[in-house]
Symmetry: C2
């Protein structure tokens, strides 16, 4: 059993592109990934595709075969859906299929079209990642849910809106060196603190934007990569997935995310690494507080400590443990079904030194990707390693 | 690498239950499957869940963790979506995960709530299995698409509305011995021919009904089944999946379903069986003509021959090759996300002799399940064998 390799990745410009269909964006990212990988399209054995709100945003289900067709892949295609962790779930099954020897070449990708239905439409569509009967109908929204988690965290461990503002500032700064990012705009702590309140204590800059985009990666077995002389040094050495009750009120507490704890433990054990080995992380910061919870679930910080990690510089791109070098969901944008694969792409480019702004990002050997769905009722964690 | 076993299966009464939520139906089927299997819930390592129209019918995405919670499963849960083949896609990945040694116990299941949104709502929701831009907006509906396929078939191979009527009559007769079936009502060829026309040449009795329901199965490795002394004689010995262009107009012809051809070839080769070994089949007869196309893709009949198979008695429950002993989608009903697992349940009960109406159904050793999405842009085929 060997680690699948990332042979190529493609990502569209993330942003507000209401005129672009999912299929159009997927084709751009997919053809770029195929081109970069050097893998002939006829060798592709399957497409594992992530999408969340196609039914509501584009009146389009059954997108697997549609996306396969868009990139000329004549192979089985299935859509994976685990809310905002849809692409992470697709990556996980692809990793398992390659490891088992069942497949040698799989395309994993995701796309989401969101801005065409407007902010109210997208907010409604996002809400169905929560429990319709017991949360949404009671007026719960995602900013509200994460605001509850932030308040509980402040109460249990301490922390302030200013601590969260530093996370936003950091991720906006990181987005400046990611040409695919949606919000390439430097902000200050004051900008964040003075922004309109969305759900106390979360303001506008604590939330990720609504985003259109696609991301695609070509994964191969080690044997295939070797045999075909591919430039594919990055291996996916660990995969983990955890689940939790869908509704926030059914959880044991609001300040920890056990689904992510489980996914992280499984992925680290699978890869044979410890949290201490991690050089760089891409985590699911749909809200600034979510970055804090993710870093603690990944055991990269003790409980209660991640809240100050951006403020004290540890997680900036010049710090000891750069987090969300892509800008994160916060500033890169969050086209839901694509997010997990976009994380994979960033880590691949950072670890293998092929990042378009290689001088602006640090080097590293071990990277970890954390992709969460809903209020962390689903989480996947993947460990990537530079095998060169 | 050994074949996963079916340790237990549960199916709700299929029908019009607009007051029942998906979670309610899934809980019923899931707890029945767990109970029948004798597997302790804590041993479940994952839920692979099929659902198609939850976003439109229940304003609920992210159903994986929700359904896991409903049956007390504390494990990762992902939703699979390949239109009407969603559950087939979930079964396939579960089979692969058990075979590879990655998992020992997986629950596969699906649910769909459809009648609560009415016939127009369900017809619209079903339409998103086709291409929104190039088919749906042009007025295409699924009855229309399958009517085109029936007309093309009649023209290429011959066949009449009366031939199709015999398929409906057969499946209605089969539903009389399936207590879970929605349409337990005997009909005559005249009833079918005189029914209102839906899309010429398909009348009301050529189409499956709109259905609420759930189906769940517990799959284990052979080693787990042996070690725990489970009554699990039925193994899934072959899996196959094929894909095709989403839109009907992009296909090479309308009278064959290459996605199903590929899935069938792969599944037979995987199981090491031939079509001639098959004793019983459950196929995706969303329309009567779909049963014909399925049987030919499965190589159970030559091209052009399956159209008369019901009429000449071959595929009735007293014939040489009983097809859709459950009543098929046509009379058992078609709660989309559950259909693939319901096929698995029927075959398991028929092959292991535990069918509640065992005296009314034939015996057999090899069964095949064919689950199709859209106008057969996605297909999974599974081979089941009695290992006792």
């Amino acid at each position: 059993m060997t680690d699948p390799r990332v042979a190529g990745a493609g990502v569209t410009k993330f942003g507000s592109h209401p005129e672009r269909t999912s299929r159009d964006m997927f084709a751009e990212a997919g053809l770029e990934a195929l081109d970069q990988s050097g893998v002939p399209v006829d060798d592709i054995e399957a497409l594992y595709y992530g999408n969340f709100m196609g039914e509501l945003a584009e009146h389009q289900g059954h997108q697997g075969p549609l996306m396969a067709e868009m990139i000329g892949v004549d192979a089985p295609a299935t859509r994976y859906e685990a809310a905002c962790a849809s692409a992470g779930a697709a990556i996980r099954e692809a990793v398992k299929a390659i490891r088992s020897g069942e497949s040698d070449v799989i395309v994993v990708g995701g796309a989401e079209r969101m801005t065409n239905i407007g902010t109210a439409g997208a907010t409604d569509a996002l809400s169905i990642a929560a429990d319709d009967l017991y949360e949404i109908r009671a007026g719960m929204t995602f900013p509200g849910a994460y605001a509850l988690m932030a308040r509980a965290y402040f109460e249990e461990y301490g922390g302030t809106r200013e601590d969260l503002a530093h996370i936003a500032v950091k991720n906006h700064e990181h987005a400046l060196v990611n040409d695919h990012a949606q919000l390439q705009k430097e902000i200050s702590v004051e900008d964040a603190l003075n922004a309109p309140m969305v759900a106390d204590p979360l303001g506008l800059y604590d939330a990720c934007p609504i985003t259109d985009g696609a991301a695609v990666a070509v994964l191969t077995s080690e044997a295939y990569a070797d045999e075909h002389g591919l430039d594919a040094d990055i291996g996916i050495s660990g995969t983990g997935q955890g689940g939790d009750n869908l509704a926030l009120q059914d959880r044991a507490h609001y300040t920890q995310t056990p689904a992510a704890d489980k996914a992280a433990s499984e992925a680290y054990a699978d890869a044979g690494v410890d949290a201490a080995d991690v050089d760089v992380a891409e985590v699911h910061d749909c809200f600034t507080i979510a970055e804090v919870l993710a870093l603690e679930s990944l055991s990269l910080f003790e409980r209660g400590d991640a809240i100050t990690a951006a403020r004290d510089g540890t997680t900036t791109r010049h710090g000891d443990l750069p987090v969300n070098l892509s800008g994160g969901l916060k500033a890169k944008g969050h086209p839901v079904g694509a997010t997990g694969v976009a994380q994979l792409a960033t880590l691949t480019w950072v670890l293998d030194g092929s990042h378009p702004r290689a001088n602006a990002v640090p080097d590293g050997t071990v990277g970890v990707a954390h992709n969460a769905g809903g209020t962390v009722a689903s989480t996947t964690v993947h460990v990537l390693e530079d095998k060169a």
